[in-house]
Each structure stands twice: as C-alpha cells, then as structure tokens.
Symmetry: C2
Subunit: 117 residues, 2 copies
C-alpha cells in the first residue's frame, strides 16, 4: 500500500510543475494549516491529519477524498453514519462482500442504482 505522505508529496509536486502555486507553503495556507505541519505530513514524520484536513487537502489536490482517507487509515464520517444507522444490515453486507471481486461489487452497485424498489 502506498503511504499517505509520499502520495501527497508526489501529487503536489506534479501539480507544481505546471503551477508554482502548489508549494508546501501556499497549499498549506490555502487549506488552513501551518506549512511546517504539511511538510511533516508529506514526509510521514507525523501521522496523517484529521478527516477534515484530509478532505480539504484532497479537494485542493483534486483527488478522491475517500481514497485519501483510506490511505490515512480512516473511513469518511458520512459513510460511518450510514452504517451506524443500520449496523446489522450493513455489517452483514460489507462482510459478505469482503472477498467478492470488484466486478461483482460493481454489479451490485449498478443493480441498486437502477433498482425499482
């Protein structure tokens, strides 16, 4: 699994090649944290930041928040809330899908989307 910090650094530096506004300092300022803190995050010197900060960072770097949160070892609060409202149901479903191949899960997603319930 790719580490959170390095992934961020790579992404930011890529963006920076075309746009000087993607420096540690400026990105940090835009998402409302200290530059030194972002630097440490990117080098993995500290643990990934809070969910809120991770999401702001994801948006800033035009990345999928759920993917970044996953790398940070977290699951989005809104997903957790959905699960908590019907814990038995969702726990069973998710454990059921643990070993299912991607295409099987996708099929379920599509079925539900087009479902006529």
């Amino acid at each position: 699994m790719t580490q959170f910090g390095p992934a961020i650094r790579e992404r930011r530096e890529r963006l920076r090649r075309d746009d000087r506004r993607y420096s540690v300092r400026q990105v940090a300022t835009r998402i409302g944290i200290e530059p030194a803190y972002l630097s440490k995050i990117e080098r993995g010197e500290v643990a990934p930041p809070s969910e809120a900060t991770t999401v702001r960072l994801a948006k800033e770097l035009d990345q999928d928040p759920d993917v970044l949160l996953a790398m940070a070892g977290k699951v989005s609060g809104d997903l957790q809330e959905i699960i908590r409202k019907r814990p038995k149901l969702f726990a069973e479903l998710i454990r059921q899908l643990k070993e299912a191949p991607d295409h099987a899960v996708l099929r379920v997603v599509r079925e539900v989307r087009d479902g006529d319930w």
Copy 2:
C-alpha cells in the same frame, strides 16, 4: 436513538435478575476494567469506552457487537478495513444504499450470498 450507557445498564440488570453474577463489579472484573469505570459508563458520565472494551462488554452481555458499537458512535475496525481496501467501490455502494429500505438491502445481501461469481 437509545443511549449507550442506559442500554448497557438495562441489559445487565435484566441478566442480573436471573444471575447474581451480573453485578457492576463482577462484569467489570470479567471484562477487565474498573468497576467505577463501568458504573460511569452505564450512567453516561463518561463517553462510551474503546472499541475493544465495547466488544468485550457486548460478548459478556450477549449482545451484537456491531449494534453496541453503533450506539457508541463507532464502526467496527474490521468493517473499516474492508472499506479501506477498496474505498471508491465501497463508498459508492454504501452511499447508494443510504436511502434504500431495509428489504432492498437485505435482498442484495441474499443475492451476494447466493451469487455465482
């Protein structure tokens, strides 16, 4: 939503009617926490305990761990891990199912269980 503490208390006292071994003290000792701490948990004087403690408590009181964790505002670590391994897929699925009625979700569960992938 029922609160975590009171639900625990109620359940424990119910068990206690038939079995004197379900006192605050004895339950606490069996699951490895201080009696005073369990007392505070049951009265909601402190926040619900850690996931590990909650699960031990659930087993001790013969309750569904996922349900108790949900009341505690948490989602089981093993479910989170499943989601984190394929964040996009599961995020989409779960958000898709947010408004789906129970029977629709259950249908999906059954389909997957009997699925031929």
